[in-house]
Subunit: 206 residues, 2 copies
Amino acid sequence: MTDHMDFYFDFSSPYGYFASTKIEALAAEFNRKVKWKPILLGPMFKAAGSAPLTEVPLKGDYSRHDFQRTADLFDIPYQQPDPFPIGTVHAARALLYMLQIDERLAVKFAHRTFRAYFVEQKNIGEAGIVLELAEQTGIDTAELAAGMVREDIKALLKAEVDAAMARGVFGSPFIFVDDEPFWGFDRFDYIRKWLRKTAKLSDQPS
Amino acid sequence: MTDHMDFYFDFSSPYGYFASTKIEALAAEFNRKVKWKPILLGPMFKAAGSAPLTEVPLKGDYSRHDFQRTADLFDIPYQQPDPFPIGTVHAARALLYMLQIDERLAVKFAHRTFRAYFVEQKNIGEAGIVLELAEQTGIDTAELAAGMVREDIKALLKAEVDAAMARGVFGSPFIFVDDEPFWGFDRFDYIRKWLRKTAKLSDQPS
């Protein structure tokens, strides 16, 4: 048993954004913390032979409808972004850098970035926008600008994506509770059921 | 508003099976009936450029794990079938034929068929097994054997699959409540939320 849950997401993923708005409350229900793990879906889709949801015939229309409906049903602010999807390498590197410096600020930045893309129509694919959002979060942007292009940070993101895939991650959001994998915002209830069951089992005399 | 929900499924789909065990109770909560709509995923996967879950890299392992976990979390009897997935054209035609003759018996047969495949390791891909299950359900198997190979029944299944795709169906289970589409067993809570919201809206003076 660990005291956290690993939250893998791509900043360009609507269900990743929805998860980001609820996961801290979910983790808190079970006295756990969230480990934020930015990844890139591009390399994963390549490995799994899949594609962005909205580009798949039939699934595309359904997905766009389901994004907005999910937002409505769960009372989450949402505006379908355009362009979509986008590459989020700058945002991911920025978050990884920030997580090394100040976890609290980093998480604040992650929320700010998701909101900028999915509510405010800001193109977070651009490094300039990422720095702007960091500044609004109270981050030293000169340091961040230097940090997010450092070779070790670039290598770290690559390693994180590889490690995630080795662990079985193929989509966003993807959550590990201990070693139990959960794919999708629609698995939050499974996480609850699973944690309650696990808690019950560990209450029993061994 | 209609008084039913359309339940599209492939007899070889685990999440379709899970849905089949809960959908009548879900529909009853809202005074609706279930219209059983057997389809074949093969032509849909071809159109959407997708493949059976278990054959997709990375997703395959996760899916197999999630089938069993879903069964456990929702207290649904389950044994991963082998062979899997299978062609279910005979079972689908048999159900379509039965639905024309006696809806109550047809639904009983549908439940019996799902259970045979996902609990009892029976290969429901074989026409002989389908007839055996029909007999156990109290269906006249001589009539059914003749009915399920009739040209109009074959054409009906093809038309049903085409109509489903035209409506946007690309997976199993796929449920329409009025014209609202829901894909997946993990959308049952969405259906509840959506129906409550719709009921509330229609209560308001117009």
